[in-house]
């Protein structure tokens, strides 16, 4: 791997694997500890909802197979882990007989797209604002943003989502209320479709951005204040370097490091927040899939979606950890490179 120390990499890989294994195991154990038989409940609710259930025997058999009522526990567990590794979560009960993995594959790009977009936007806005808040040469007006950023950070994205939805979609009608693209456009790489996707994605992204940029901004500000007092900054000033150069190359460069570690710990909350935002905007991602599955008591889908989202979170944390040695050269010297 060249620049990443092997021990560090190994440590991260092991943590990733344990995380995924624990998540998969929890998802497997939980229904088995349940005092009620999920298969019966599900079928009962389906029958109550639809009046009658087609293929009831088949579904019940599949459910029992999924919850493994026929094999010894160890066999079930091994089978389950094998299935999970190959992303095989069985068949959806609500849209029987669609593969759960097919449904997830359809929803995943939307979620990943929305997440990447909002994370990148918040990263730049937040850090830039935070740096400006602490920089002694920035206009006084920027300091007003501090309390505003703080208040926004304390609010979960679902609340900001509701407010924005009401104001910008229901009241002002600037943006569509729900969905990921218009009902009249055909999905495909056409300009009309892309336009519709951007138009629909704006509000969900904004509701996440507005409550997360403060996290970066405040962290950045705190770190900048610490960095400002460092000797190397004083020296740089004394050398007569341009203030802007000092800001970028001396201050931000050093202050951004702990920010990245702090971010890795936040990813879980961020993902959960986005699931809820997708649910209220009925955005075609994993959040909506999960919500629909909860409504339909579609347990295989709930299991599959939960697992894939946890996997996504764990992989994101892993990637952030991998990026870290590249940003912070000091960490490279820790590992023994032979």
């Amino acid at each position: 791997m060249g620049r990443i120390p092997r021990s560090y990499l190994l440590n991260r890989v092991v943590t990733l694997l344990i995380t995924v294994w624990i998540a998969a195991t929890l998802i497997w154990i939980i229904p088995r500890l349940s005092p009620v038989d999920p298969a019966d409940i599900m079928l009962g609710r389906m029958a109550a909802g639809a009046g009658a259930v087609e293929n009831a025997d088949q579904i019940l058999a599949q459910l029992r197979e999924n919850f493994g009522l026929n094999d010894p526990l160890v066999v079930q567990y091994v089978k389950y882990i094998r299935n999970v590794v190959t992303f095989d979560f069985g068949l959806s009960t609500a849209t029987f007989p669609t593969q759960v993995s097919t449904l997830i594959a359809r929803a995943l790009p939307w979620t990943v797209g929305l997440m990447l977009l909002s994370v990148i936007i918040t990263f730049f806005i937040g850090n830039a604002l935070g740096a400006l808040m602490a920089w002694d040469r920035s206009p006084k007006l920027v300091r007003v943003a501090i309390p505003v950023a703080m208040v926004f950070t304390s609010i979960p994205p679902i609340l900001s989502g509701l407010l924005l939805m009401w104001l910008l979609a229901a009241k002002l009608r600037w943006f569509p209320l729900t969905g990921a693209y218009g009902l009249t456009v055909e999905p495909g790489w056409t300009w009309g479709f892309v336009q519709s996707v951007i138009h629909h994605g704006f509000l969900p992204a904004l509701s996440i951005v507005i409550v997360t940029f403060g996290f970066w901004a405040l962290g950045m500000r705190g770190l900048m204040i610490t960095v400002q007092g460092e000797d190397y900054v004083t020296l740089a000033k004394a050398k007569g370097l341009r203030p802007r150069y000092i800001l970028y190359r001396y201050m931000i460069r050093n202050a951004i490091l702990p920010q990245i570690t702090a971010f890795a710990l936040k990813i879980g909350l961020l993902v959960a927040g986005q699931v809820l935002v997708e649910r209220i905007f009925a955005y075609n991602g994993m959040g909506k899939l999960l919500y629909d599955a909860i409504l339909d008591q579609d347990f295989p889908v709930i299991q599959g979606v939960s697992f894939v989202i946890i996997l996504m979170t764990a992989v994101s944390v892993f990637l952030v950890d991998l990026v870290y040695p590249f940003v912070d050269p000091r960490i490279r010297h820790d590992g023994v490179e032979t």
Binding site: T15, I22, V36, A170, L177, V275, I294, S306
Partner: protein
């Protein structure tokens, strides 16, 4: 003589605590003076606006239902009088249990070290990346209805990691400090060192971590409720929002139905934030303003 004033007496801490107490007071006073039977379905006319407003059907708000009613004829005031303290209760209970677990595990890891430390460290590293919401969704869809306390217990299983890490780190650094070495040399027991010598120094951090966890717990609980899980028979703020979204309250401009619970939750989070900022000033003297 300002520098002798206690850092605990700071305005942020007071405002934050005041906000939370106001929500608790709303619950207590509401229970005493308001008819909570109005929280039953059909106890009031449907979709009535708050006093001074008019809904789309041209009905005006009435003082019998001062902040309006929801789509199935429940009085919103009664709903929030019951629901708001519930959300706070879940947050506090979950965080309290998580905190106790965290203190225990953090001290064990930092003090005993070795294998115990490895296991606890890896476990908290792992669990901190798993979003509690997703596991709880699986739990609740397999188990059906849960009580408020049960939900708090479930959430508590996911909020012990950050206090554990925090305390472990602090214990490791304190172990080397002079006063702990001194206590050890003078023959103090491990328990004495842990709880009498070290714990008092950790109090501001613990409070900070506790408040942060209350926020996480409430966010998780509200998340579950908005997904239609959580307690089914007890009014909670999240569930009220869930019902409002499902009934299309946004399109029908029934802003009070989702807006008032949202506002209350927002105030709750701001209150918690203020407390946390106040606590930061206690634990980090550099943040205190020199006046």
């Amino acid at each position: 003589m300002r520098r002798f004033e206690s850092p605990w007496m700071n305005p942020k801490l007071f405002c934050g605590a005041g906000l939370l107490l106001a929500i608790v007071a709303l619950g207590i006073i509401g229970r005493l003076f308001w008819n909570l039977d109005l929280a039953y379905t059909g106890a009031a006319p449907l979709k009535l606006p708050p006093v001074g407003f008019e809904n789309l059907r041209g009905q005006e708000g009435a003082w019998t239902y001062p902040i309006g009613t929801d789509g199935s004829g429940r009085d919103l005031l009664a709903l929030i009088v019951i629901g708001a303290p519930n959300s706070l209760f879940v947050g506090l209970l979950a965080s309290l249990i998580g905190m106790s677990l965290g203190i225990f595990l953090g001290f064990s890891a930092g003090f005993i070290g070795g294998r115990t430390d490895d296991i606890i460290r890896v476990l908290s590293d792992v669990m901190i990346t798993i979003p509690p919401l997703l596991i709880l969704v699986v739990v609740q869809s397999a188990w059906g209805d849960v009580s408020l306390t049960m939900m708090a217990l479930l959430i508590a299983g996911f909020v012990w990691q950050s206090p554990t890490r925090l305390i472990r780190a602090q214990v490791l650094s304190m172990k080397q400090s002079g006063y702990v070495q001194m206590a050890r040399l003078s023959g103090a027991s491990t328990m004495h060192i842990m709880f009498r010598e070290m714990l008092p120094n950790l109090v501001p951090y613990l409070f900070g971590s506790f408040i942060a966890n209350v926020t996480t717990s409430i966010v998780t609980a509200v998340g579950l409720e908005v997904l239609g899980l959580g307690p089914q028979r007890i009014p909670t703020l999240g569930r009220t929002i869930y019902e409002a979204i499902n009934a299309g309250a946004l399109i029908q401009n029934l802003w009070w139905w989702w807006g008032i619970p949202t506002l209350l939750l927002g105030l709750m989070f701001i209150g918690l934030l203020l407390i946390n900022l106040g606590l930061d000033e206690v634990s980090n003297p550099r943040l205190r303003k020199l006046q």
